[in-house]
Symmetry: C2
DNA sequence: CTCCTTATTGATGGTTACTCAACAGTAGGG
DNA sequence: CCCTACTGTTGAGTAACCATCAATAAGGAG
């Protein structure tokens, strides 16, 4: 067994190092296939230590996913200085960008719809979704569109739509894929369409755009 | 240990019995939490026998999911005698119906986007999706709308949208939920909207409906 | 240099996927 | 009716892995 890190570290440093090691494994293996012993070896540390710091395998995996999720949210967080229309567009672009860069890592968070047990993991995913939904509903409220259960449901579904087509798009060979700009376009416009639908507004999404164009 | 089934059965019968037992467990536990020993006990059989018939735990789970997926497809398969519009509507209704009846079982198939390892499980999910997509594209082709990568991507995303909002809807307490008819409506209309979007057709979905109304 | 705190380990137990040689039920020939 | 060949089935045994805990050693304070 390799002991890459010679001596004792501060708890914070050690925890960070273990998380980094686990994240490295996430580039290759799926989250469900990450064993405590593999992470321990990757970190150059005894398996027992992981239990000392994280308590259990579930909590370790949870911590890894949470770290990745936080990182993703940081990249996608909208800039309040922009207009609402620009916020949506640049956030969608940032999302596609980030997931494209490290697909196996971010899809682990984005796609863990995993009916497969793991209530905490699903809770994390729902929390990420809820964060996005909050950002958008705040923007819509600013444009005079009040929150409603139907809109919230549509936004939730829209995120599933985006996650799915981005993932599918990534799986396609680059020779066949549509332009990335087109993908972003499709994601952006579908948001307006689905919200309009949830509002039971038969009109086109272009009617709503002018209201989103002015900055807040 | 209970040996509910006294003696030797034909391989086909035994396999079917084990699958039934596993499916029963799926009503309660998640697919990832189903151990070989639990299934063996449920079936009244020694654990070793499961390996004889299915080879490994992965393949066993795969077989269970495949059985459930086939069952789902059977219920949702569109009736060629109907008009295209009616086919979409009744298939969506059948989908909501079936998933509502045994949520824990069918969500196991529908929601196994589980980046969590399990390449075969994802492949199965993709196969189910592809089947639905084929049905719809066939219908669209009949209405004069030729298949294209953009439309295929949108249909894939639409299914993610539907799966997500149905699952979310199921999680909500019945007191808060919107009407089931409204849910089906939202699913149906979003399909038209997203296809139009993929066609880069700025018009409303109502322009396309008349073409779907005549039977083929 | 010594002591005390605590980061870290290695031994250990229990669960579970998986293998395999042995057992037992059933059918067919004498 | 009995023997034999075939094969469905078992139960013991192995390996990997999650988890616990008492023992160890590193590093700073005095």
């Amino acid at each position: 067994m390799v002991r890459s890190s010679g001596a004792r570290l501060s708890p914070a440093d050690r925890k960070a190092q273990i998380l980094t090691a686990a994240r490295g494994l996430l580039e290759v293996r799926a989250i469900d296939a990450i064993s405590v012993e593999a992470v321990a070896e990757e970190a150059g540390v005894s398996p027992g230590l992981l239990f000392h710091y994280f308590g259990s395998q579930r909590k370790l995996r949870q911590a890894v996913l949470r770290a990745v999720a936080d990182e993703l949210l940081d990249h996608v967080r909208p800039d309040p200085a922009l207009s609402l229309e620009e916020q949506l567009r640049s956030s969608v672009e940032a999302f596609v960008e980030q997931v494209s860069r490290h697909p196996s890592v971010y899809l682990a968070v984005v796609r863990l719809t995993t009916t497969g047990g793991n209530a905490e993991a699903r809770a994390l995913h729902r929390a990420v979704r809820a964060t996005f939904t909050d950002w958008i509903t705040a923007g819509l409220t600013g444009a005079g569109i009040p929150p409603s259960p139907r809109v919230a449901l549509a936004l939730d579904g829209w995120q599933a739509f985006v996650e799915e087509i981005v993932a599918t798009w990534l799986d396609q060979p680059t020779s066949v894929r549509m332009d990335r700009a087109d993908l972003v376009d499709l994601c952006e416009r579908s948001c307006y369409q689905l919200v309009m639908l949830a509002l039971d507004d038969a009109g086109s999404w272009e009617q709503i755009l002018p209201r989103l164009r002015r900055s807040i």
